[in-house]
Amino acid sequence: MNTSPAAPTIVRTDPISPSIPPSPETTMIRYFDPSHLSFFMAGATLRLTVADEYSCLQVSVHRMFPLTHPDQYFSIRDGAGNELGVLRSLNALDPNGRECVLLALTRRYMAAEVRKIIRARERFGIVEWEVETHRGVCRFSTRDLRDNIRRLSDRHFVIPDVEGNRYDIPDLAALDTQSQAWLLQHL
């Protein structure tokens, strides 16, 4: 990916803490106190101010367990990809900041949540799917699905297509009977 990593965009604010900005070689994880963080959007960019320490002009938020615990543990990174710290949960953020972070997460994690399997047709080891997701109807193809599918539990599946896109089925039992039959036929 030719994302041009911006130079670290950390702006010190007064008072300057001697431990900031964090060094990439730091061996300890820094857990942020959510009440000290203010997230806000500037155009398409998420910005962060850590109270009494610094402002970062471009940050990204990465889920640390995107499949198993999507609502816990978030790595906050600066424009160069260095970790500024970790947030255990978004709950204690101020409502506006929380909304900004959720927006950034929705944007970053593009997996579609499957609500219905409209059709699944197998031809020569390729299964062609047509599914209804929370982002609309789409079609995709999978190859060697039994080898590639992620089974996170007995009911939670993640289907990767041949392009590397992911389709999440958080609860198989929540799908209609026909959709369940389509999926189980190919597992």
Partner: protein, 753 residues
């Protein structure tokens, strides 16, 4: 010009595609709000526009920006796709979003936009820059242009559009070298068929003329004589029939063994020439299952399947004709259930095939899991994970058990029911035939003969309904074997590849960009020229691209952009055997094959004399430890060389490289993970090895690269610094930082001790 093939006609009309100012059009598959939908990025002389379609299907411009307003175009990598960002009026704006399917295209777009913006800037400053060109789409066709089916990896042949007859013919082609045996099998099969048809035919005179004579003209003596002849006839038919079966089976077994060997060898030979990327994508256990089990299944199709199929078909036709000739009305009654059975069979068969595939997948996974666990037995024991491994195996084994149970139970239920339906015809024969006998329209002998043939008729018919299942299982195996045989290596031999022997050893990187996934480059725009005999040390943090550089020199992968030249010739245009025979590799994780030390040293030169082997071992500082072993050079190294220590394995590997006598040498962390004394010995051996050879070395300890002519510092895939050890230290850049970092680590370790 890049134009999507499915560009809606209203948009094509609006854009007037022939217009000179138009540069390219790219389609996205996700809208800015994340929902699935299409938008189009149009690049022309004036700037960028993003078009969408209104609900009524009319093209509307959702975004536009003139070139002069555009700053810092970039793509942002997201999970499952990406976004195109521009800086406009000092703010970064997201212009459009796309899924992974469009990733490669938008990487090209981003690169082009960056170059074009720079071009305009240079032009405005009065310079005369070159007009940038949109990089050509190097993507291979992924879908069949006729049926839109995703094509198997590494091939442009669509299995759906492939003629089925051709597949059968291809399978039959493997029989060609054994046509004499095949001919014998066919002749014996015909003979057996005819001999099998004789006994029921003799039933008719046996009943009507001997047991229940229809006329009283023949005396009991005449009937006894006839009985003797008929029984003798039955005996001869049975003896000859059994003889034909024995001979046919013996030839069949021989042919089966030969074919199985041929197929295994062909598959294994093909695997040997596949590129590294091929093996990275496939688990070893699954490959093992293909080479061993699937070739056996194919042998079954070729040997037993084909001959049984032909035999049963001929029996069916032969008996059908006899039955029609004997009593066409009764014969037609038998056929009443057949179409119903075929219809049900066609309906249920895809599900049964699916069950077999599922069962095969679980067996393959079980085999992968066993291979993995046994290969890693040391780690399993070291971490006391035996119970966990047993639990994991048990889970996989239960899946196999369940999938097998479901598949078998379904089949064992389906086929008896089909058989019941099919045999309904015989009940009709009893009823209608019985009425004819009572009415005096038919003799008992005809009825008995009819019923005897009927018993023989349902057998092949039943088999032919099972044929779909049988073929499905066997053709699934054929599919898997052919999938490998039809896969082309990613790294292909150019048809016009040139010989390069002997190699001088000049290596040039010209704007090389490479990523294991082409849209995520690991090496970016690397240019470097290395003189013959020069030693280059590659330095950088983990993930900087050092090992990737080595992989590219060996041509385990092909570059995405730019080229690597050896002696001025593009690597892709050099014969692979010439290239590999002149490149030697010593890796940290030394791989030795199960065999003697001498065999391992002579791995690349099996014709090497014993003295050559001794000389190589001596130069590698391996001779003394080898001789001190009870079996000397005949010592078995064990699987993966496990009976030798790490340092010993390393020195055997160096001896192997010395004997190979390469022009270009690659040392990847060759002295890591050994004690200081051993390291000294290995260093000495390496010093002898690299003499006069172009050498690329990666070493964890930067001090070991002190002797390198030049050091190349890589960071995040980019070439950061080039120079001698002293020059780079004096420069106080990245290398200086890494050296200091290592010094600090060493002192911490020293304090720790």
């Amino acid at each position: 010009m890049n134009v999507p093939s499915d560009l809606p006609s209203p948009l094509a009309k609006t854009l007037s595609l022939s217009h000179d100012s138009l540069k390219a059009i790219f389609a996205t598959d996700i809208l800015l709000d994340g929902s699935f939908g299409k938008e189009w990025l149009v690049i022309d002389d004036t700037g960028l526009q993003v078009y969408a379609l209104s609900p009524s299907g009319e093209p509307v411009i959702r975004f536009q920006a003139p070139w002069l307003a555009i700053k810092a175009p970039q793509t942002e990598s997201l999970v499952g796709g990406g976004a195109l960002l521009l800086t406009l009026d000092g703010h970064t704006r997201e212009i459009l979003r796309h899924s992974n399917a469009c990733q490669k295209e938008f990487s090209r777009v981003s690169k082009y936009l960056t170059e074009y913006v720079a071009y305009l800037k240079d032009k405005a400053e009065g310079k005369s820059p070159e007009i940038p060109v949109l990089a050509a789409d190097r993507g291979v066709r992924l879908r069949c242009p006729h049926c839109n089916l995703l094509l198997p990896e590494g091939t442009q042949v669509c299995p759906a559009c492939l003629h089925k007859g051709k597949v059968i013919l291809r399978l039959a082609g493997y029989l060609r070298p054994y046509w004499v045996e095949a001919l014998w099998i066919i002749l014996l099969m015909f003979a057996g068929l005819i001999l099998n048809l004789i006994p029921p035919y003799l039933t008719r005179p046996l009943v009507d003329q001997v047991l229940v004579p229809q006329n009283s003209a023949s005396t009991p003596h005449q009937r006894l004589v006839l009985l003797g002849w008929l029984v003798f006839g039955l005996l001869v038919a049975q003896i000859l029939g059994t003889g034909a079966t024995i001979f046919r089976s013996r030839i069949l077994v021989r042919l089966g063994a030969l074919l199985s060997h041929d197929l295994r060898l062909k598959l294994y030979s093909h695997l040997q020439f596949m590129s590294i990327r091929f093996f990275e994508k496939r688990p070893v256990g699954a490959m093992l299952s293909r080479v061993v089990q699937d070739t056996d299944s194919l042998e079954e199709v070729l040997v037993e399947g084909l001959q049984i199929f032909v035999g049963q078909l001929l029996t069916l036709i032969g008996i059908g004709v006899i039955l029609l000739m004997m009593n066409w009305k009764l014969a037609l009654l038998i056929l009443i259930p057949v179409p119903i059975c075929l219809w049900i069979s066609n309906l249920c068969m895809p599900r049964l095939i699916g069950l077999w595939r599922r069962s095969w997948h679980f067996r393959s996974r079980l085999s992968t899991s066993v291979t993995e666990s046994l290969s890693g037995s040391r780690v399993v024991k070291a971490f006391a994970r035996e119970e966990a491994e047993i639990k994991r195996f048990s889970g996989h084994s239960i899946d196999v058990q369940e999938s097998n149970r479901i598949a078998h139970q379904s089949i064992q239920t389906f086929f008896p029911m089909l058989w019941l339906l099919m045999s309904a015809g015989s009940l009709l024969v009893w009823y209608v035939g019985g009425r004819s006998i009572i009415g005096g329209d038919m003799t008992l002998g005809v009825m008995m003969t009819f019923l005897a043939y009927l018993g023989m008729f349902y057998g092949p018919l039943n088999y032919l309904t099972r044929l779909a299942d049988y073929l499905a299982r066997s053709l699934a195996a054929a599919e898997r074997v052919f999938e490998i045989l039809d896969s082309d290596p990613d790294v292909k031999e150019d048809p016009g590849a040139v010989a390069l022997r002997p190699m001088e050893g000049r290596v040039e990187f010209v704007n090389v960009t490479f990523g294991y996934e082409s849209h995520r480059p690991v090496l970016k725009n690397i240019s470097l020229s290395v003189a013959p005999g020069e030693m280059i040390g590659l330095v950088g943090q983990s993930g900087a691209g050092k090992s990737t550089t080595m992989n590219l020199i060996c041509r385990f992968y092909d570059v995405n952009e730019g080229e690597i030249r050896i002696d001025g010739i593009d690597l892709r245009r050099i014969k692979q055997t010439d290239l590999r025979s002149q490149i030697g590799v010593v890796l940290q994780d030394t791989f030795l094959f199960n065999g003697t030390i001498a065999e391992n040293i002579a791995f690349a030169r099996p014709d090497a004399s014993r003295e050559d082997i001794l000389a190589a071992a001596k130069a590698a500082n391996a001779h003394d430890f080898i001789v001190s072993k009870p079996d000397g050079y005949d010592t078995l190294v064990g699987e993966r060389g496990q009976s030798l220590s790490g340092g010993e394995r390393q020195r055997v590997a160096i001896a192997r490289a010395i004997l190979h006598n390469p022009r270009i040498l690659i040392l990847d962390e060759a002295t890591a993970s050994v004690d200081t004394d051993t390291e000294k010995q290995i260093q000495e051996a390496i010093a002898r090895l690299i003499k006069g050879r172009t050498t690329f070395a990666i070493a964890h300890r930067l001090s070991t690269l002190r002797n390198a002519n030049r050091l190349v510092v890589l960071k995040n895939g980019a070439l950061l610094e080039v120079g001698t050890h002293a020059e780079l230290l004096a420069k106080e850049g990245e290398f200086h930082r890494l050296v200091n970092l290592q010094k600090e680590t060493s002192s911490i370790m020293a304090v720790g001790k």
